[in-house]
Amino acid sequence: MIKAAVVGASGYIGGELVRLLAMHPEVEITAITSRRYAGKKVHKVHPNLRGLNLRFTNDYNFDADVIFLAVPHGESMKIIDEFLGSAKIIDLSADFRVSLDLYKRYYGEHVKPELIDEFVYGLPEIHREEIKKAELIANPGCNATAVILALYPFKGDVSEAIVDLKVSSSAGGRRENVASIHPERSHVVRVYKAFHHRHEAEVIQETNVKAQFTVHSVDLVRGLLATIYFKMETSEKDLYKMFFRYLKEPFIRIVKEKGGIQRLPDPKYVIGSNFVDIGFAYDEENQRVILFSALDNLIKGGAGQAVQNMNIAFGLDETLGLSYLPVYPI
Protein backbone atom coordinates (compact mmCIF):
# COMPACT_ATOMS: atom_id res chain seq x y z
CA MET A 1 0.00 0.00 0.00
CA ILE A 2 1.15 3.50 -0.86
CA LYS A 3 0.85 5.96 2.02
CA ALA A 4 -0.63 9.21 0.76
CA ALA A 5 -1.10 12.62 2.36
CA VAL A 6 -3.22 15.45 1.03
CA VAL A 7 -2.18 18.99 1.96
CA GLY A 8 -5.07 21.44 1.47
CA ALA A 9 -7.69 18.74 1.84
CA SER A 10 -10.51 21.13 2.73
CA GLY A 11 -10.60 22.56 -0.80
CA TYR A 12 -12.33 21.15 -3.85
CA ILE A 13 -9.25 19.53 -5.32
CA GLY A 14 -8.30 18.24 -1.89
CA GLY A 15 -11.77 16.76 -1.36
CA GLU A 16 -11.70 15.06 -4.73
CA LEU A 17 -8.27 13.62 -4.00
CA VAL A 18 -9.54 12.17 -0.72
CA ARG A 19 -12.54 10.68 -2.52
CA LEU A 20 -10.43 9.04 -5.22
CA LEU A 21 -7.65 7.89 -2.89
CA ALA A 22 -10.13 6.41 -0.42
CA MET A 23 -11.48 4.19 -3.20
CA HIS A 24 -8.02 3.38 -4.62
CA PRO A 25 -7.09 -0.28 -4.03
CA GLU A 26 -3.38 0.39 -3.45
CA VAL A 27 -3.53 3.52 -1.31
CA GLU A 28 -3.86 4.24 2.36
CA ILE A 29 -4.50 7.86 3.35
CA THR A 30 -2.26 8.79 6.26
CA ALA A 31 -3.00 12.50 6.60
CA ILE A 32 -5.32 15.19 5.32
CA THR A 33 -4.52 18.76 6.26
CA SER A 34 -6.48 21.93 6.79
CA ARG A 35 -5.73 24.92 8.96
CA ARG A 36 -9.33 26.11 9.24
CA TYR A 37 -10.85 22.70 9.96
CA ALA A 38 -8.06 21.01 11.91
CA GLY A 39 -9.61 18.52 14.32
CA LYS A 40 -12.87 18.22 12.38
CA LYS A 41 -14.10 15.13 10.60
CA VAL A 42 -13.75 15.15 6.84
CA HIS A 43 -17.53 15.13 6.32
CA LYS A 44 -17.95 18.51 8.00
CA VAL A 45 -16.52 19.99 4.80
CA HIS A 46 -17.18 17.26 2.25
CA PRO A 47 -20.59 15.84 3.15
CA ASN A 48 -20.29 13.16 0.48
CA LEU A 49 -17.42 11.59 2.44
CA ARG A 50 -19.48 10.84 5.54
CA GLY A 51 -18.47 7.40 6.67
CA LEU A 52 -14.76 7.82 6.05
CA ASN A 53 -12.90 7.81 9.31
CA LEU A 54 -10.61 10.75 8.58
CA ARG A 55 -9.93 13.95 10.45
CA PHE A 56 -8.18 17.11 9.28
CA THR A 57 -4.88 17.97 10.90
CA ASN A 58 -2.54 20.94 10.71
CA ASP A 59 0.44 18.92 11.75
CA TYR A 60 2.77 18.25 8.84
CA ASN A 61 4.63 15.59 10.71
CA PHE A 62 3.05 12.66 8.89
CA ASP A 63 4.28 9.50 7.30
CA ALA A 64 3.75 9.41 3.54
CA ASP A 65 5.19 7.98 0.34
CA VAL A 66 3.44 10.57 -1.76
CA ILE A 67 2.26 14.05 -0.83
CA PHE A 68 -0.33 15.91 -2.86
CA LEU A 69 -0.18 19.68 -2.52
CA ALA A 70 -3.68 21.01 -3.21
CA VAL A 71 -3.15 24.56 -2.05
CA PRO A 72 -3.65 27.79 -4.05
CA HIS A 73 -0.97 28.86 -6.45
CA GLY A 74 1.65 30.95 -4.76
CA GLU A 75 1.20 28.90 -1.57
CA SER A 76 2.86 25.68 -2.75
CA MET A 77 6.21 27.28 -3.23
CA LYS A 78 5.98 28.82 0.22
CA ILE A 79 5.38 25.55 2.05
CA ILE A 80 7.15 23.01 -0.13
CA ASP A 81 10.34 23.00 1.97
CA GLU A 82 8.42 21.24 4.71
CA PHE A 83 7.97 18.22 2.48
CA LEU A 84 10.97 18.06 0.14
CA GLY A 85 12.86 14.81 0.30
CA SER A 86 10.45 12.97 2.52
CA ALA A 87 8.20 11.66 -0.26
CA LYS A 88 7.29 12.06 -3.91
CA ILE A 89 5.44 15.34 -4.29
CA ILE A 90 2.62 15.99 -6.72
CA ASP A 91 1.84 19.68 -6.73
CA LEU A 92 -1.55 20.70 -8.09
CA SER A 93 -0.88 24.41 -8.04
CA ALA A 94 0.58 26.41 -10.90
CA ASP A 95 3.86 27.07 -9.10
CA PHE A 96 6.08 24.60 -10.87
CA ARG A 97 4.36 24.01 -14.19
CA VAL A 98 6.19 26.40 -16.46
CA SER A 99 9.68 27.77 -17.03
CA LEU A 100 10.78 30.74 -14.97
CA ASP A 101 10.45 32.95 -18.03
CA LEU A 102 6.86 32.05 -18.69
CA TYR A 103 6.13 32.18 -14.99
CA LYS A 104 7.30 35.75 -14.76
CA ARG A 105 5.31 36.75 -17.83
CA TYR A 106 2.07 35.26 -16.56
CA TYR A 107 2.33 35.19 -12.76
CA GLY A 108 5.13 37.40 -11.47
CA GLU A 109 7.91 36.74 -9.01
CA HIS A 110 8.81 33.19 -7.99
CA VAL A 111 10.23 32.39 -4.55
CA LYS A 112 11.69 28.97 -5.45
CA PRO A 113 13.03 29.42 -8.97
CA GLU A 114 15.79 26.86 -8.43
CA LEU A 115 13.19 24.09 -7.99
CA ILE A 116 11.30 24.65 -11.24
CA ASP A 117 13.61 22.55 -13.38
CA GLU A 118 13.41 19.60 -11.03
CA PHE A 119 9.70 19.23 -11.68
CA VAL A 120 8.25 17.10 -14.45
CA TYR A 121 5.12 18.45 -16.15
CA GLY A 122 2.57 15.82 -15.23
CA LEU A 123 0.61 15.33 -18.42
CA PRO A 124 0.90 11.55 -18.87
CA GLU A 125 -0.17 11.48 -22.52
CA ILE A 126 2.90 13.59 -23.34
CA HIS A 127 5.42 13.02 -20.56
CA ARG A 128 4.75 9.45 -19.45
CA GLU A 129 8.36 8.34 -19.54
CA GLU A 130 9.63 11.23 -17.43
CA ILE A 131 6.83 10.82 -14.92
CA LYS A 132 7.85 7.22 -14.32
CA LYS A 133 11.08 8.43 -12.79
CA ALA A 134 9.90 11.67 -11.26
CA GLU A 135 10.19 12.68 -7.63
CA LEU A 136 8.52 16.06 -8.19
CA ILE A 137 5.52 16.37 -10.45
CA ALA A 138 3.71 19.57 -11.43
CA ASN A 139 0.14 18.62 -12.23
CA PRO A 140 -1.29 20.61 -15.17
CA GLY A 141 -4.09 23.16 -14.94
CA CYS A 142 -7.61 22.09 -15.86
CA ASN A 143 -8.00 24.44 -18.83
CA ALA A 144 -4.46 23.70 -19.92
CA THR A 145 -5.03 19.93 -19.92
CA ALA A 146 -8.06 20.27 -22.17
CA VAL A 147 -6.35 22.61 -24.60
CA ILE A 148 -2.94 20.97 -24.74
CA LEU A 149 -4.33 17.51 -25.43
CA ALA A 150 -6.46 18.89 -28.26
CA LEU A 151 -3.67 20.97 -29.79
CA TYR A 152 -0.73 18.63 -29.27
CA PRO A 153 -1.25 16.69 -32.53
CA PHE A 154 -0.88 20.03 -34.34
CA LYS A 155 2.39 20.96 -32.67
CA GLY A 156 4.69 22.39 -35.30
CA ASP A 157 1.88 22.92 -37.81
CA VAL A 158 -0.05 25.62 -36.02
CA SER A 159 1.35 28.81 -34.55
CA GLU A 160 -1.63 30.57 -33.09
CA ALA A 161 -5.17 29.76 -31.99
CA ILE A 162 -8.19 31.29 -30.34
CA VAL A 163 -9.45 29.37 -27.32
CA ASP A 164 -12.96 30.12 -26.11
CA LEU A 165 -13.48 28.44 -22.73
CA LYS A 166 -16.66 27.73 -20.78
CA VAL A 167 -15.85 26.82 -17.19
CA SER A 168 -17.66 25.76 -14.04
CA SER A 169 -17.74 27.28 -10.59
CA SER A 170 -15.77 24.59 -8.77
CA ALA A 171 -12.73 25.77 -10.74
CA GLY A 172 -12.72 28.79 -8.46
CA GLY A 173 -12.21 26.74 -5.32
CA ARG A 174 -14.14 26.62 -2.07
CA ARG A 175 -13.75 30.29 -1.21
CA GLU A 176 -16.08 33.02 -0.08
CA ASN A 177 -16.51 35.83 -2.53
CA VAL A 178 -19.55 37.93 -3.34
CA ALA A 179 -19.05 37.22 -7.04
CA SER A 180 -19.48 33.52 -6.32
CA ILE A 181 -22.66 33.50 -4.28
CA HIS A 182 -25.51 31.64 -5.86
CA PRO A 183 -27.71 34.58 -6.86
CA GLU A 184 -24.78 36.25 -8.64
CA ARG A 185 -23.12 33.17 -10.11
CA SER A 186 -26.19 31.28 -11.37
CA HIS A 187 -27.43 31.66 -14.95
CA VAL A 188 -24.38 33.58 -16.05
CA VAL A 189 -22.24 33.61 -19.11
CA ARG A 190 -19.75 35.87 -17.43
CA VAL A 191 -16.47 36.91 -19.01
CA TYR A 192 -14.05 35.82 -16.38
CA LYS A 193 -10.94 36.77 -18.35
CA ALA A 194 -11.08 38.45 -21.75
CA PHE A 195 -7.52 37.52 -22.71
CA HIS A 196 -4.06 36.74 -21.29
CA HIS A 197 -5.34 34.00 -18.98
CA ARG A 198 -2.54 32.34 -17.03
CA HIS A 199 -3.08 28.86 -18.43
CA GLU A 200 -1.92 30.15 -21.82
CA ALA A 201 1.60 29.73 -20.47
CA GLU A 202 1.30 25.95 -20.24
CA VAL A 203 -0.08 25.72 -23.76
CA ILE A 204 2.76 27.76 -25.19
CA GLN A 205 5.29 25.61 -23.38
CA GLU A 206 3.84 22.26 -24.40
CA THR A 207 2.59 22.94 -27.94
CA ASN A 208 4.40 26.07 -29.16
CA VAL A 209 1.01 27.47 -30.07
CA LYS A 210 0.35 31.07 -29.07
CA ALA A 211 -3.12 30.41 -27.75
CA GLN A 212 -5.31 33.37 -26.79
CA PHE A 213 -7.72 32.27 -24.03
CA THR A 214 -11.07 33.95 -23.46
CA VAL A 215 -12.63 32.38 -20.39
CA HIS A 216 -16.37 32.44 -19.66
CA SER A 217 -17.94 31.27 -16.41
CA VAL A 218 -21.10 29.30 -17.10
CA ASP A 219 -23.76 27.76 -14.89
CA LEU A 220 -22.03 24.47 -14.17
CA VAL A 221 -20.56 23.20 -10.92
CA ARG A 222 -18.14 20.83 -12.68
CA GLY A 223 -16.67 20.49 -16.10
CA LEU A 224 -15.38 22.68 -18.86
CA LEU A 225 -15.42 22.91 -22.62
CA ALA A 226 -12.67 24.45 -24.70
CA THR A 227 -13.54 25.50 -28.25
CA ILE A 228 -10.39 26.07 -30.24
CA TYR A 229 -10.16 27.87 -33.58
CA PHE A 230 -7.34 28.10 -36.07
CA LYS A 231 -6.78 28.36 -39.80
CA MET A 232 -5.41 25.34 -41.66
CA GLU A 233 -5.74 23.76 -45.06
CA THR A 234 -6.79 20.23 -44.34
CA SER A 235 -9.76 17.85 -44.49
CA GLU A 236 -11.93 15.93 -42.07
CA LYS A 237 -10.13 12.75 -42.99
CA ASP A 238 -6.73 14.24 -42.26
CA LEU A 239 -8.01 15.53 -38.95
CA TYR A 240 -9.08 12.03 -37.99
CA LYS A 241 -5.58 10.88 -38.71
CA MET A 242 -4.06 13.54 -36.49
CA PHE A 243 -5.85 11.96 -33.57
CA PHE A 244 -4.93 8.34 -34.30
CA ARG A 245 -2.04 8.79 -31.88
CA TYR A 246 -4.55 8.77 -29.04
CA LEU A 247 -6.21 5.47 -30.00
CA LYS A 248 -4.52 3.57 -27.20
CA GLU A 249 -4.83 6.26 -24.55
CA PRO A 250 -7.08 4.96 -21.76
CA PHE A 251 -8.47 8.37 -20.84
CA ILE A 252 -8.91 10.08 -24.20
CA ARG A 253 -12.06 9.51 -26.22
CA ILE A 254 -12.52 10.92 -29.71
CA VAL A 255 -16.12 12.12 -30.03
CA LYS A 256 -17.34 12.80 -33.51
CA GLU A 257 -20.72 11.52 -34.59
CA LYS A 258 -22.51 12.24 -37.81
CA GLY A 259 -26.04 12.03 -36.47
CA GLY A 260 -27.96 12.16 -33.24
CA ILE A 261 -28.00 14.98 -30.79
CA GLN A 262 -24.69 14.38 -29.13
CA ARG A 263 -22.20 14.66 -31.91
CA LEU A 264 -19.33 16.41 -30.20
CA PRO A 265 -17.77 16.66 -26.72
CA ASP A 266 -19.81 18.13 -23.89
CA PRO A 267 -18.63 18.29 -20.26
CA LYS A 268 -21.94 16.66 -19.35
CA TYR A 269 -20.67 13.34 -20.74
CA VAL A 270 -17.49 13.09 -18.67
CA ILE A 271 -18.57 14.20 -15.17
CA GLY A 272 -17.30 11.88 -12.47
CA SER A 273 -14.67 10.32 -14.74
CA ASN A 274 -11.06 10.81 -15.73
CA PHE A 275 -11.91 11.08 -19.44
CA VAL A 276 -11.11 13.96 -21.69
CA ASP A 277 -13.35 13.93 -24.76
CA ILE A 278 -11.94 15.53 -27.90
CA GLY A 279 -13.78 16.26 -31.13
CA PHE A 280 -13.30 18.38 -34.23
CA ALA A 281 -14.97 19.94 -37.22
CA TYR A 282 -13.60 21.40 -40.40
CA ASP A 283 -15.22 24.45 -41.92
CA GLU A 284 -13.95 24.07 -45.45
CA GLU A 285 -15.36 27.33 -46.69
CA ASN A 286 -13.37 29.28 -44.12
CA GLN A 287 -10.49 26.78 -43.96
CA ARG A 288 -10.89 26.77 -40.25
CA VAL A 289 -10.32 23.88 -37.87
CA ILE A 290 -12.52 23.85 -34.77
CA LEU A 291 -11.55 21.59 -31.88
CA PHE A 292 -13.70 20.76 -28.87
CA SER A 293 -12.25 19.42 -25.66
CA ALA A 294 -14.25 18.57 -22.53
CA LEU A 295 -13.27 17.25 -19.12
CA ASP A 296 -14.20 17.23 -15.46
CA ASN A 297 -11.97 19.95 -14.01
CA LEU A 298 -11.72 18.23 -10.62
CA ILE A 299 -10.76 14.84 -12.10
CA LYS A 300 -8.85 14.80 -15.40
CA GLY A 301 -8.37 18.53 -14.81
CA GLY A 302 -6.99 17.99 -11.30
CA ALA A 303 -7.27 15.18 -8.75
CA GLY A 304 -7.79 12.35 -11.25
CA GLN A 305 -4.77 13.33 -13.28
CA ALA A 306 -2.75 13.59 -10.07
CA VAL A 307 -3.71 10.01 -9.18
CA GLN A 308 -2.85 8.96 -12.73
CA ASN A 309 0.58 10.53 -12.21
CA MET A 310 0.94 8.75 -8.87
CA ASN A 311 0.08 5.41 -10.51
CA ILE A 312 2.75 5.97 -13.14
CA ALA A 313 5.37 7.22 -10.72
CA PHE A 314 4.85 4.19 -8.45
CA GLY A 315 4.82 1.68 -11.26
CA LEU A 316 1.16 0.76 -10.90
CA ASP A 317 -1.31 0.21 -13.70
CA GLU A 318 -2.01 3.75 -14.87
CA THR A 319 -5.78 3.33 -14.69
CA LEU A 320 -5.93 1.89 -11.18
CA GLY A 321 -8.64 3.52 -9.11
CA LEU A 322 -9.62 5.72 -12.03
CA SER A 323 -11.77 3.54 -14.28
CA TYR A 324 -15.07 5.12 -13.37
CA LEU A 325 -17.64 5.62 -16.09
CA PRO A 326 -19.14 9.11 -16.11
CA VAL A 327 -22.41 9.62 -14.25
CA TYR A 328 -25.21 10.51 -16.67
CA PRO A 329 -27.65 12.20 -16.79
CA ILE A 330 -26.57 14.63 -14.16
Partner: protein, 53 residues
Protein backbone atom coordinates in the same frame (compact mmCIF):
# COMPACT_ATOMS: atom_id res chain seq x y z
CA UNK B 1 -7.39 -4.11 -45.79
CA UNK B 2 -9.54 -1.26 -47.04
CA UNK B 3 -9.26 2.42 -46.27
CA UNK B 4 -12.13 3.96 -44.33
CA UNK B 5 -13.40 6.82 -46.47
CA UNK B 6 -14.21 8.86 -43.36
CA UNK B 7 -11.11 8.68 -41.20
CA UNK B 8 -8.57 7.08 -43.48
CA UNK B 9 -7.84 4.17 -41.18
CA UNK B 10 -6.85 0.87 -42.74
CA UNK B 11 -9.64 -1.54 -41.82
CA UNK B 12 -9.38 -5.29 -41.84
CA UNK B 13 -12.45 -6.78 -43.45
CA UNK B 14 -13.46 -10.37 -44.03
CA UNK B 15 -15.76 -11.60 -46.77
CA UNK B 16 -18.00 -8.75 -47.86
CA UNK B 17 -21.28 -8.69 -49.71
CA UNK B 18 -22.54 -5.89 -51.90
CA UNK B 19 -24.58 -3.36 -49.92
CA UNK B 20 -23.48 -4.84 -46.65
CA UNK B 21 -23.13 -2.27 -43.85
CA UNK B 22 -19.96 -2.41 -41.79
CA UNK B 23 -18.66 -0.13 -39.11
CA UNK B 24 -15.24 1.42 -39.02
CA UNK B 25 -13.64 0.29 -35.76
CA UNK B 26 -11.69 3.52 -35.50
CA UNK B 27 -14.12 6.33 -36.17
CA UNK B 28 -17.38 4.41 -35.77
CA UNK B 29 -18.75 5.48 -39.16
CA UNK B 30 -21.28 3.19 -40.80
CA UNK B 31 -20.01 2.21 -44.22
CA UNK B 32 -21.80 0.59 -47.11
CA UNK B 33 -20.05 -1.74 -49.53
CA UNK B 34 -20.91 -0.13 -52.87
CA UNK B 35 -18.50 -2.12 -55.01
CA UNK B 36 -16.68 -5.41 -54.53
CA UNK B 37 -13.94 -5.47 -57.11
CA UNK B 38 -12.12 -3.57 -55.89
CA UNK B 39 -13.88 -2.97 -52.61
CA UNK B 40 -15.37 0.50 -52.35
CA UNK B 41 -16.90 1.75 -49.11
CA UNK B 42 -19.18 4.74 -48.77
CA UNK B 43 -20.44 6.42 -45.68
CA UNK B 44 -24.09 5.79 -44.85
CA UNK B 45 -25.71 9.20 -44.60
CA UNK B 46 -27.14 10.08 -41.22
CA UNK B 47 -29.18 13.14 -40.40
CA UNK B 48 -28.03 15.78 -37.98
CA UNK B 49 -30.98 16.24 -35.72
CA UNK B 50 -32.07 19.82 -35.38
CA UNK B 51 -33.72 20.78 -32.15
CA UNK B 52 -34.17 24.24 -33.36
CA UNK B 53 -31.97 26.55 -31.37
Amino acid sequence: MVECPVCGAEIEVGELELHQIIECPVCGAELEVVDLDPIVLEEVPEVEEDWGE
